[in-house]
């Protein structure tokens, strides 16, 4: 603060508080809605304060079935989401570490071509080429499988690019010294490179976990067997009921449960997450 302007400080706090309230508004409403029985959602009538059916709705949704045409309990879909998110996260980190290592610390023919091929995938989300990707996965007989859920989404270069940036900033003297001490490429990788990129890996973990957990269209298309339903995509199935009313209380409880794990990861690992984001800019 340069000079003391109490009214400006007050205005800052006020703006931030209003901002936070607006940002939290839909979640607050969802929480309230999930504590009422389904019958409370009539025309011109949405409850504005907590009701008494919360424990029952949450219990049913979590352990029996999510409802609205989705007969799988939320805990089971959470497990599927977790498998998918972790598969994508670990898969991406592993293949990206290796390929970034190859591109930065070795010289070989077509090195630049390889980098560009990988780099091309950097920002191309699966949604853009959805039909052909679906066909490829169907041809490989990977519909309704964990492999089909994870592998196609691993093919993006964000992590490779970040590791490349990180490795490029490692001083050459370090590599020189390691080599003079007789360290081979594997020893260098495990003893020097991995420890040096520990924080990058952790930050990427947070971002990729959220990316994997939040996948929507892809699992929606390739899972028709409810043993592979993930939590976020099940919301869509819950919304598309043809007969009868939408049970908003169950949908809201499921929505809140679906956002809980990634939000917990972001808040719990806030420092790494912020570092991961801001570093990715550099």
């Amino acid at each position: 603060m340069i000079e003391n302007r109490p009214w400006l400080t007050f205005a800052s706090h006020a703006t931030l508080l209003i901002g936070i309230a607006l940002v939290a508004l839909p979640v607050w409403m969802a929480l309230v809605a999930s504590t009422h029985p389904a019958s409370a959602f009539g025309v011109g009538h949405i409850p504005l304060w907590f009701g008494g059916a919360g424990a029952q709705t949450w219990g049913t949704v979590l352990f029996e079935k999510a409802g609205n045409g989705v007969d799988t309990p939320v805990w089971f879909m959470m497990l599927n989401s977790l498998i998918m998110a972790l598969g994508i996260t670990f898969g991406k980190i592993a293949i990206s570490l290796l390929s970034a290592y190859a591109i930065v610390f070795f010289r070989f023919p077509f090195r630049n071509l390889c980098f560009w091929i990988i780099f091309m995938t950097l920002m191309l989300p699966v949604e853009v080429r959805i039909v052909p990707t679906y066909e490829v996965v169907a041809n490989l007989d990977l519909l309704n499988s964990y492999t089909g859920l994870t592998l196609p989404l691993i093919a993006s270069a964000t992590a490779t690019f970040l590791f490349r940036q990180c490795f490029l900033s490692i001083p050459g003297e370090l590599v020189e010294a390691a080599r003079m001490d007789g360290a081979g490429p594997w020893r260098f990788f495990f003893d020097i490179l991995l420890p040096l990129s520990r924080t990058n890996i952790a930050a990427l973990f947070v971002i990729l976990f959220i990316y994997g957990w939040n996948q929507y269209l892809w699992p929606l298309l390739i899972t028709t067997d409810d043993a592979y339903y993930t939590l976020v995509m099940s919301i869509k199935r819950m919304l598309s009921v043809t007969d009868g009313d939408i049970a908003w209380n169950q949908i809201m409880a499921t929505t809140l449960l679906a956002m809980l794990p990634p939000v917990a990861v972001v808040i719990g690992m806030q420092k790494l997450f912020v570092k991961g984001l801001v570093d990715s800019e550099k």
Binding site: I20, V23, M29, I95, R129, Y216, L239, V266
Partner: protein, 292 residues
């Protein structure tokens, strides 16, 4: 220049997993899209006929495609501009205060973690014409809110839901950018008698321009591609075609309309657009980085 290892075979081994995954799940589908774009296929995939550039010709003479392009532009720029202005306001305020910065940051960044589809559902219930509190409040204020019928209102709904999620991301970058502004510059201006507003517009904002440009590209990319879930969960591209963005149209024409050739042609156009945006972003990122 980095020091390198002399091995010749090892780098290929290291690259193998990434290249395999990229080839199977990226290059192959991309090639398929390119091929399909030149064929007309019946809905069951039983027969196909080479029709050259006809799919592209159809696409570029289809008024619906141009409408979808316009929709995408309106949608993307609205999301980017609304999201960035709100985030900048909040970041400037957060940068001013000394106490409780971390608490405010924590309370503002969590929407980043919410899936776009869920964000759509959350806002839907607030704006539902028959029971949503905001819709009812708007009605009592004389605005007849019904995003099922009114295309503009549907657009506003998907913009709000998509922006909501993006504010946290923009906020973090603006805050980081603000904290990198040298204090001495601001102090000097303050001694010269410049008011906080004047200081912001003449010193701070110009220094933030790289961050702003970066965020603009990122936000446009986000609005282009990642908001599929928001649209699918709330408006499904409707009413009419009023919220059908280009990415939604690829999906809708391909999986719902079963026009595989047309959808493939759209995929090819989109890939070209992404390629262009990637190059812009890459040039920007490369320029900013100083390798030590």
């Amino acid at each position: 220049m980095t020091v390198t290892f002399p091995q010749k075979g090892l780098p290929w081994l290291l690259l193998l997993p990434q290249l395999l995954v990229t080839a199977i799940f990226f290059l192959w589908p991309a090639e398929q899209a390119l091929e399909q774009a030149f064929y007309q296929e019946d809905a069951f995939g039983l027969s196909r006929e080479f029709i050259g550039l006809e799919n592209f010709a159809d696409l570029f003479t289809d008024p619906l495609y141009y409408q979808s392009m316009l929709t995408t532009l309106v949608f993307s720029f609205s999301v980017a501009i609304v999201g960035m202005s709100l985030a900048l306001l909040l970041a400037v305020m957060a940068d001013r205060i000394i106490r409780g910065k971390l608490a405010y940051q924590t309370l503002l960044i969590w929407p980043y973690a919410v899936a776009p589809a869920l964000a759509g559902v959350l806002w839907w219930i607030l704006f539902d014409p028959s029971m949503g509190p905001i819709a009812l409040w708007l009605k009592s204020a004389g605005i007849d809110w019904n995003h099922y019928l009114d295309g503009n209102q549907a657009m506003i709904l998907v913009v709000i839901a998509s922006t909501w999620k993006q504010i946290s991301y923009n906020f973090l970058f603006f805050l980081a950018g603000l904290q990198a502004v040298p204090r001495s510059l601001i102090e000097a201006a303050a001694i010269d008698g410049a008011s906080p507003f004047k200081r912001f517009w003449t010193i701070v904002f110009p220094l933030l321009s790289p961050t702003t440009f970066f965020l603009l590209v990122v936000n446009l990319v986000y609005a282009f591609f990642e908001t599929f879930g928001v649209i699918d969960a709330t408006t499904k591209g409707g009413p009419g075609q009023s919220t059908t963005t280009l990415v939604y149209k690829v999906f809708d024409d391909g999986f719902v309309g079963l026009d595989l050739g047309g959808s493939a042609a759209q995929s090819v156009v989109l890939m070209a657009i992404v390629g262009l945006m990637t190059v812009i972003q890459f040039r920007f990122i490369e320029r900013k980085v100083q390798y030590s």
